[in-house]
């Protein structure tokens, strides 16, 4: 039975979180200890009937002075800690652009995880060590929370909206994955594990992750839906229908009919699929049919992965294959 006081420090910012916590612990511990010692000392020295000297009580002016000193000094120190903690928080909550994109869907009492290569996992996440991992999470029903104590990170997963979070594992090993936001009967059974592997093991895992042949990649699956659901009919240069080309659309500013400029992030793509006439691009008519209720979360994610893969530098012919 080991009693580790600190969980593993195995993500890039885990060390700084622990450093902030320890410095807070020291500062708060010092103040608490000071208060305890002073109280015990006063209680013993000035107990009733003791012959301690009780003259020269600080006048009203001195009291105000004392009051300000023991408030301003700790306050300034704590503001310093606030700024430090704020910086680390900003770093923890702004995902890098070059990370390995993994999609996570929280569902009542399980985590469904999809890798770009098409591998699907339940409550398990295999990731390579020392690489930025960017998770795009959503929930199918209630609020869940992707909580990895060893990485010192957690983020609530909201229904109807994409949430992004990132980490870079620095040590290989298996770490706990919990659901941090109460979500119903088996909230406590929604736990899983994050398996951090060296690059070799990760590549091997990618290949032989299952008995069947290499699984169909997410982008391939997305293009299959893109064509089977009829999206390609309009969005790939049809003469009859005037529809915006999705070529290199991701993260580009899109001028809307209402005059706003919106960045085409994940949320925009999802809204355009489910409620197309909500953000109609300038110069187009709201004629696209809504797919609300027709697509599962997995299909939407696959379609978005396909749209994101439509970059200008791709040779045109590679886009046309069925």
């Amino acid at each position: 039975m080991n009693l580790p006081l600190l969980p593993y420090e195995s993500s890039s910012y885990a060390a700084s979180v622990d450093a902030i916590f320890l410095s807070l612990l020291l500062l708060c511990g010092a103040i608490t200890l000071a208060v305890f010692v002073v109280i015990i000392f006063f209680c013993i020295r000035y107990r009733r009937g003791s012959s301690a000297d009780r003259t020269h009580y600080p006048s009203h002016g001195e009291q105000v002075g004392i009051e300000f000193t023991w408030i301003i000094i700790p306050f300034v120190i704590f503001i310093g800690l606030f700024i430090w903690a704020g910086n680390v928080y900003y770093e923890m909550f702004s995902p890098p652009t070059d990370g390995l994109a993994i999609y996570v869907i929280g569902k009542q009492w399980m985590w469904k995880i999809e890798h770009p290569g098409g591998q699907r996992e339940i409550n398990q996440l295999h990731i390579p060590v020392n690489r930025n991992i960017v998770l795009t999470l959503t929930s199918q029903d209630v609020i869940h929370d992707f909580d990895v104590p060893a990485f010192r990170i957690k983020h609530d997963v909201l229904p109807g909206r994409y949430v992004r979070m990132w980490f870079k594992a620095t040590q290989t090993g298996t770490y706990h994955l919990f659901c941090g936001q109460y979500c119903g009967d088996f909230h406590s059974r929604m736990a899983g594990s994050i398996i951090v592997m060296s690059d070799l093991d990760y590549a091997a895992w990618l290949q032989g992750s299952g008995t069947q042949s290499a699984p169909e990649s997410l982008v391939a699956e997305g293009s299959r839906y893109f064509h089977s659901l009829g999206c390609s009919g309009c969005h790939e240069g049809s003469l009859v229908v005037h529809a915006p080309s999705l070529n290199g659309l991701y993260q580009q500013p899109v001028p809307l009919q209402s005059g706003q400029i919106v960045v085409a992030n994940d949320d925009y793509l999802r809204d355009s699929i489910l409620q197309p006439s909500k953000n109609v691009p300038a110069g187009y008519q709201p004629i696209m049919p809504s797919f609300q209720g027709l697509l599962s979360e997995e299909q939407i994610i696959a379609l978005i992965a396909y749209i994101k893969s439509q970059r200008n530098d791709l040779p045109p012919n590679s886009r046309d294959q069925p």
Partner: protein
């Protein structure tokens, strides 16, 4: 401390024997009797909440959760949360000690609206009826926070019945707060200026401001959740563009000020106890007054620190974190001022002071961990874990309940006219302090190691600390059971206390105990400072003379 033990006697005509029949108690207008009605009802609810806590702690001794199913465990922690927050902690000090003492401390005969005061108790019991019905019929498994969309669409517990119960209970808080504010503004005795009010009255006034300004937002939030559950479609429904975060904003806009409702009156009691048992005026009276009002105001600006990881924008998170550091300043002022009050005092270690000292110790630890939670990066790691559970239990159980017991012991002679057994009370305080620390300190470590809260099943490595935490429970139980016994016993057979057993200068100690129904034969004229324990014989320092207090 006590004068020469001349014979004291229970006054023939006092509020207790004014009317013996049940009707005289159930339809009383006397604020003192309503306080006792509240005392009995919240003790009943405290027992229910404690049973749930004991069952949960037993359940958590093994990691695979063999005693109850997950659903039962979820219903238990919801019951514990709802009953303890709304039916014990919020009414405990304001409605029991506040109802009893506020009119007496400001020299009034009764509350401004006596009938509204009685209505507040009936509304409290009516709300309690709904809550108990919801528990007996099948319980609620949403947690005391009722987060949507789980509470509005996916939960299958009796959420509407519980929401109606808390909604009605909210009116009890509003009526009490309204009564306190009007009484303090309009019924102060001549000479009782704002800066001669005892600090307990100041904290009750600040708490009433929060009662009146925060409880309505909870009422509307729970109404909207109940409507959404009833009609199937509502304001927080993500399927029609609703935002679950809006519920969290509205809920925490009430719930953070609510935790200040629970702790502010406790601070008032502690200011009284520390001043009384070191027999000298409180250090920095003005600062503590402005600190109480500061807590009441700043408490409304910081609720976002409950939502750092909930999808709230990181810029809003930073602003709420900065404001949370500001709200810690008034609490720090109070703790430092209490410590300074002990300086050069005549400290005697009766039971109330032991409760007050353990309050200061536990509240300081709770407050300091609060500062750790206010800093963003640490909160991301420890929110929704047992670190949070330990933090708020240190403030609520270590702070509010400890001060409540201290206050009950200190004013027990005034309420019942008899003294409690001194040594037994001191032992109860010590047992409570030790049992509390044994039960809740391990949870800080569990929290930082990452054990999530509201978990029925957890990994094995957390088991040892959970067992240690459960071991603290018997001591905690004993610490609460002892006062129940000896206070009940000494209310009937205790030594007769006389009007002023602590020789304290407060207005409440100038009238016989138990006091007559109309409190004062004639309304007193107040001339002295609030904590004027007589000129300090040892120091020849000119303490603040009358003129200075008039000038203020």
């Amino acid at each position: 401390m006590t004068q020469t033990p001349e014979m004291h006697f229970i006054p023939r005509e006092n509020y207790l024997n004014q009317g013996k029949t049940l009707v005289s108690w159930l339809f009383t207008h006397d604020h003192k009797r309503i306080a006792l009605l509240y005392l009995i009802s919240i003790t009943f609810f405290f027992l229910i909440g404690s049973i749930a806590a004991v069952l949960m702690r037993i359940e958590l001794t093994n990691p695979h959760g063999e005693f109850f199913t997950s659903t039962t465990y979820n219903k238990l922690f919801t019951l514990h949360g709802v009953i303890m927050v709304w039916f014990f902690l919020i009414p405990s000090i304001p409605n029991v000690l506040g109802n009893f003492l506020l009119p007496i401390m400001i020299g009034a005969r009764d509350m401004a609206f006596p009938r509204l005061n009685l209505l507040s108790w009936y509304v409290f019991m009516f709300g309690g009826l709904f809550a108990l019905a919801s528990i007996i019929l099948g319980g609620v498994d949403t947690g005391w926070t009722f987060y949507t969309p789980y509470s509005s669409t996916y939960s299958n517990g009796w959420v509407i019945a519980m929401a109606v119960g808390i909604f009605i209970n909210g009116f009890s808080s509003i009526f009490t707060g309204l009564n306190f504010i009007v009484t303090v503004h309009k019924l102060r005795a001549p000479g009782m200026t704002w800066f001669r009010l005892p600090l307990f009255v100041w904290t009750l006034y600040s708490t009433s401001l929060i009662f009146v300004l925060a409880t309505p937002v909870l009422a509307i939030t729970l109404t909207l959740v109940a409507l959404e559950r009833g009609f199937g479609v509502g304001i927080f429904d993500p399927r029609i563009g609703g935002d679950p975060l809006l519920f969290q904003h509205l809920f925490w806009f009430y719930s953070h000020p609510a935790v200040y409702i629970m702790i502010l009156p406790a601070m008032g009691v502690i200011s009284e106890l520390i001043a009384a048992f070191s027999r000298k005026p409180i250090f920095g009276y003005d600062f503590i007054v402005y600190a109480s009002l500061g807590i009441a105001f700043l408490g409304f600006l910081v609720w976002g620190h409950h939502m750092f990881v909930s999808g709230q924008s990181i810029y809003a998170g930073m602003i709420f974190s900065l404001l949370s550091f500001f709200v810690a300043v008034p609490s720090a002022i109070k703790v430092f001022n209490w410590t300074a009050t002990l300086y050069k005092g005549h400290i005697s270690f009766e039971a109330p002071l032991l409760y007050a000292l353990s309050f200061i110790a536990l509240f300081t630890i709770g407050g300091m961990t609060g500062l750790m939670l206010a800093s963003l990066a640490v909160d991301v790691h420890v929110t929704q874990t047992y670190f949070i559970v330990a933090h708020f239990h240190y403030i609520m159980v270590g702070g509010a309940v400890m001060a409540y017991l201290g206050g009950i012991h200190y004013w027990f002679p005034k309420i019942s006219g008899r003294m409690y057994p001194e040594n037994l009370a001191r032992w109860a305080a010590v047992i409570l302090f030790v049992g509390f620390n044994l039960a809740f300190f391990p949870q800080f470590i569990l929290g930082y190691m990452g054990m999530p809260r509201r978990y029925h099943v957890y990994p094995e490595e957390f088991q040892f600390l959970n067992i240690v935490s459960t071991c603290g429970l018997p001591l905690l139980g004993l610490g609460y059971f002892l006062p129940l016994c000896y206070l009940g016993w000494s209310a009937l057979f205790g030594r007769i206390a006389g009007p002023n057993p602590w020789d304290a200068p407060g207005l409440e100690w100038q009238i016989p105990s138990p006091p007559p129904s109309e409190n004062f034969p004639c309304i007193p004229v107040v001339t002295r400072r609030p904590y004027d324990y007589g000129t300090n014989p040892d120091t020849h320092e000119p303490e603040e003379t009358e003129e200075e207090s008039h000038a203020r």
